[in-house]
């Protein structure tokens, strides 16, 4: 709000206020005269005492002075200005209606509907009130702003139908895009852009300043039609993530109260295995509270969800988080060569790689494997185990079918070689699982240290992704003195060489079988044939295998985060062209371009990316854009637009007439008071 004067120089007339001051200082002389017989005494008074005057009758003086000032102020032409004028449609001949269908417009208004429904109704009413020869178009703002009518049209019914078909989205507010599209529709021919929006969210309005300026420069005019809730209230889940903690760790849930009232909301946590954990969160206005939920010692990995119930914007009352498999042993190690000493066994190294901190704390981060001999493979339980390490097993024949079934059902198998392995028996009974037929062991050097080095693997593969941030060079220091060679084979969509020696011999070959995968390691997992167990890359590589292959529903699925309305992208291989994204509301449109798979989630929740009948490639925990959960207004479109085009959006109230009225009232008051005082004086004289 600002104050302006049409004639500031008129304020110089304020000097006239000296009139009442002087009048009140000297007015006593002509008013009352009285014969006095003791003038001799008065003449002896000090002159300053005789001449000193008081501002007699302060009330009367104040009235007179204010009267003068009011008149002067009125003459100066005071004007009070503030932005926010409701600009009326000027009959320019073209009107573009921009309707905000973002998430925040799902807020309930006082009439029981949503803000969007009110915006639709007002927009439709506006169109119906336009002259028939007015060109009309409509644009929506949710997510990426888009036209809902192809161009300006005289077919008002078409526009009304399009407006009525606008559905509530869970997306953000693309006000900039909406104004840009509207501007393009007007094509610089002038016209009005009527925006129906709740104006909620920090920075959304300000970001549109340049577009509004362009619109104005091109002769267009912005006409804000705010659609506000009387008391905007909302509580939203703004984050959830798994971390360390007691028991099986904890999930930290962040909830924010965007309202101006304290609230307490129930919150429930759903773990991938169906476990429900509930609680309450008390929030002060505009407060974020992080609440920790303790995860049981044993929990299935996957994507969990959190849900609150605040009665406002249910779309942002949910959140999701990735939960690793916690506590349960999901790895079975079949030790085919127990060895005479502990270090002579593959299990010795595997156990320390899978549970590096020992059994006592293995539940907090590590994987505690079940270890058995080939005779104890009956312990394989598809309901518990997701990954089987079969190390240096001579003859898997007795339980080969069990392994094949396990893999086809989604289990994962890592085969490692050794001196015990029977090539013939293995090729015979595990042909359905092997990526390639085993050929024979081959020595690559006179000693272990003199063996052949490994080539660097591709870190884009999820198995090696932990090395993308460092440690990849450790692979080059691996030496393999002996390998199991393979029969020639072709890489395909199902067979992939993940790791080779620098001489090109396969070290790690992957094959997808049914719903599971098989990794064939052509060396030993102990130090018999190579230095892998002694290398720095050993433990993270085994951990990665356990993480990628040992989780339920995940297998090697990648864990991604995403937000509603924002592109989620991941690198895929050619076969992944058949990938489908399935979200809470069903299949989501996706694209593949240059090996990049993209989709834009429209709702919060878990999104699975998988080909039909195959393991999930990626799990995406999608959350709401917190900006849309913020239902508060930070500024108004009218204010921002007024900064760009002040003349159009300023409310002006001329105060001159009020000044004159005030002066009149004050003057009358002064007159009445003066007369009253005069009568009192006369009465006193008579007495």
């Amino acid at each position: 709000m600002s104050f302006a004067l049409a004639s500031p120089l008129a304020l110089g007339l304020a000097i006239l206020v000296a009139g009442p001051i002087l009048a009140h200082l000297i007015r006593r002389t002509p008013s009352r005269r009285h014969a006095f017989g003791a003038m001799l005494l008065l003449r002896r008074l000090p002159k300053r005492a005789r001449r000193r005057r008081r501002l007699s009758d302060k009330v009367l003086f104040a009235l007179r002075a204010l009267t003068v000032l009011a008149v002067v102020g009125a003459i100066a032409g005071p004007t009070l200005e503030w932005p926010g004028a409701v600009v009326e449609l000027g009959g320019s001949g073209a009107v573009v209606l921009v309707v905000d269908d973002s998430l925040s417009m799902a807020l309930q208004d006082d009439a029981g509907g949503t803000l969007l429904s009110r915006a639709r109704a007002e927009a439709v009413a506006l169109v119906r009130g336009l002259p028939e020869n007015t060109l009309v178009a409509a644009v929506r703002l949710g997510g990426t702003a888009a036209r809902i009518t192809p161009a300006l049209s005289l077919d008002h019914a078409l526009v009304i139908a399009a407006l009525q078909n606008i559905e509530q989205s869970s997306l953000g507010t693309d006000l900039v895009g909406g104004i840009r599209i509207g501007r393009q529709l007007l094509a610089g021919e002038g016209g009005e852009l009527v925006v129906f929006s709740d104006e909620a969210g920090e920075g959304i309005i300000e970001a549109a300043t340049s577009e509004i300026a362009l619109l104005t420069a091109q002769g267009g005019g912005l006409v804000p039609r705010p659609i506000h809730a009387k008391h905007p209230l909302n509580v939203a889940v703004i984050g959830a993530s798994y971390g360390s903690g007691p028991e099986g760790g904890s999930v930290e849930v962040s909830v924010h109260n965007y309202g101006d009232e304290p609230v307490e909301v129930p919150v429930g946590l759903s773990l991938p295995d169906g476990t429900e954990i509930s609680g309450f969160i008390a929030l002060a206005p505009n407060e974020t509270v992080e609440k920790l939920f303790t995860i049981p010692r044993v929990a299935m990995g996957g994507v969990g969800s959190v849900k609150i119930d605040d009665g406002h914007l249910p779309q942002d009352d949910v959140g999701s988080f990735h939960l690793p498999t916690v506590g349960a042993s999901r790895v079975l190690v079949i030790d085919g060569d127990p060895g005479l000493t502990p270090t002579a066994s593959e299990v010795y190294y595997l156990e320390r790689a899978l549970a590096p901190w020992g059994r006592s704390v293995s539940l907090d981060g590590g994987v505690l494997p079940d270890i058995t001999s080939p005779s104890g493979v009956e312990a394989l339980d598809p309901e518990v185990h997701r990954l089987v390490f079969m190390a240096n097993v001579a003859d898997p024949g007795p339980w080969a079918n069990r392994l094949i079934s396990f893999v086809n059902q989604g289990g994962n198998l890592v085969l490692s070689m050794g001196d015990n392995v029977s090539v013939e028996r293995t090729n015979a009974v595990l042909a359905k699982l092997l990526p390639a037929r085993l050929r024979r062991p081959r020595s690559l050097g006179g000693s272990e240290n003199d063996g052949e080095a490994a080539a660097l693997p591709d870190v884009s593969h999820p198995l090696f992704s932990p090395f993308a941030r460092g440690g990849l060079a450790g692979f080059s220091r691996l030496r393999f003195a002996r390998l199991m060679t393979l029969e020639p084979f072709q890489e395909s969509a199902d067979v992939d060489i993940l790791m080779k020696t620098q001489g090109g011999l396969p070290l790690l070959v992957e094959r997808k079988v049914g719903a599971g995968r098989v990794l064939l390691f052509t060396s030993t997992l102990d130090v018999d044939w190579g230095t892998l167990p002694l290398a720095a890359v050993y433990m993270p590589l085994i951990q990665s295998m356990a993480a990628q292959l040992g989780v339920v529903g995940g297998g090697g699925a990648r864990r991604l985060e995403g937000r509603v309305g924002e592109v989620v992208a991941l690198t895929i291989k050619a076969i992944s062209e058949t990938l489908v994204v399935t979200g809470p509301q069903g299949v989501v449109d996706s694209t593949v371009d240059g090996g990049i798979f993209r989709f834009v989630p429209t709702h919060a929740g878990v999104h699975h990316i998988a080909s039909e009948g195959l393991p999930v490639v990626a799990q995406v925990a999608v959350s709401i854009n917190p900006q849309e959960s913020d239902v508060r207004r930070y500024t108004s479109l009218a204010v921002t637009a007024a900064d760009v085009d002040p003349e159009r959006f300023m409310v002006r109230v001329a105060l001159d007439r009020y000044g004159f009225w005030l002066a009149l009232i004050l003057g009358l008051g002064a007159t009445v008071l003066s007369r009253q005082r005069g009568m009192i004086e006369e009465v006193a004289d008579v007495a």
Binding site: R28, T29, P30, S31, R32, R33, H34, A35, F36, G37, A38, M39, L40, L41, L42, R43, R44, L45, P46, A49, R50, R52, R53, R54, S56, E681, A684
Partner: protein, 294 residues
């Protein structure tokens, strides 16, 4: 005070004063008032009942023998003390409350008339000098016996006007009044003491018994006004715009200085000084002036 309407009231008032004065002087005995010389001749006046305290030699034993009553012979003392009443009828005296009982001029007239009657009844010659004023036939009545009617008439008709010129008046009196006479001044003394003090001192230096009744209006001296106003003297001079709320803080100090000057001037003339409010009771005024000495 200068208004005529209360003249009849004045006469009525004087009549009342006459009666009151007569009651007051009843019982007065010869020699009770101040005499400046010894009695040489005694003229019989009348008898009165003997009262304790009367000189036993004054008892008329022949009457007592005839009537069996004790009576005392009363005689006229031949003190022959002329008394001159000086009444200030200047315009300043006419200000203030226009009331015969409480105004300055009214109080002076009533007081002067009463004194004249008392003195006349006492057998002393009484005269009158009116300073300023209008409406009266003669401003000056030399002291003589039987002059009371003229004095009363002059007092009943005088109205405040003009200036008193106290200094000139006292100088005139000094050349006119006999030595060892009594001069009673009734005035508001609203002239600079320095202007009249020497003349009064000269008058007192002639052996004249000076008695000054200083009459003032209490409302004026208290500056008892509610609003600021312009005050002016009927005798002329600068008018002053006065805010009572401001001036009243300074006035007591000025008044104190003025009264000190007046007292000093009167003391120099060996005068009996009696400041008195115009609202004071008549008896109080009489006692203050006569003090049982006249």
């Amino acid at each position: 005070m200068s208004g005529q309407p209360w003249d009849t009231a004045l006469l009525s008032r004087i009549a009342q004063v006459h009666l009151r004065a007569r009651r007051a002087v009843t019982g007065w005995t010869q020699g009770k008032h101040l005499s400046h010389r010894a009695t040489t001749n005694i003229e019989f006046v009348d008898y009165k009942e003997y009262a304790p305290g009367d000189p036993i030699s004054a008892v008329d034993w022949r009457v007592a023998g005839r009537t069996d009553r004790l009576v005392v012979r009363r005689h006229l003392a031949e003190t022959d003390v002329p008394v001159t009443l000086v009444v200030d009828a200047s315009a300043d005296v006419g200000t203030g409350t226009p009331d015969l009982d409480t105004s300055k001029l009214g109080a002076m007239i009533v007081m002067a008339a009463t004194l004249a009657m008392v003195i006349d009844r006492g057998g002393d010659p009484v005269g009158l000098e009116i300073l300023g004023g209008i409406g009266h036939s003669h401003p000056s009545f030399p002291p003589r016996r039987g002059g009371l009617p003229g004095i009363i008439k002059a007092l009943s008709t005088v109205r405040a006007e003009g200036k008193a010129n106290l200094g000139d008046a006292f100088r005139r009196l000094a050349g006119r009044v006999p030595r060892r006479s009594v001069v009673i001044v009734l005035s508001d003394l609203m002239e600079e003491p320095g202007a009249w003090g020497p003349a009064l001192a000269a008058l007192g230096g002639r052996g004249v018994d000076l008695r000054v009744l200083h009459i003032h209006d209490p409302q004026e001296w208290a500056l008892d006004f509610e609003q600021a106003m312009v005050l002016f003297s009927p005798e002329g001079g600068e008018a002053l715009s006065i805010d009572p709320a401001v001036v009243s803080e300074q006035l007591p100090e000025v008044l104190e200085g003025y009264l000190a000057e007046v007292s000093s001037a009167l003391a120099g003339a060996r005068a009996l000084y009696r400041p008195m409010a115009s609202t004071a009771a008549l008896d109080t005024m009489l006692n203050s002036v006569l003090g049982g000495r006249l």
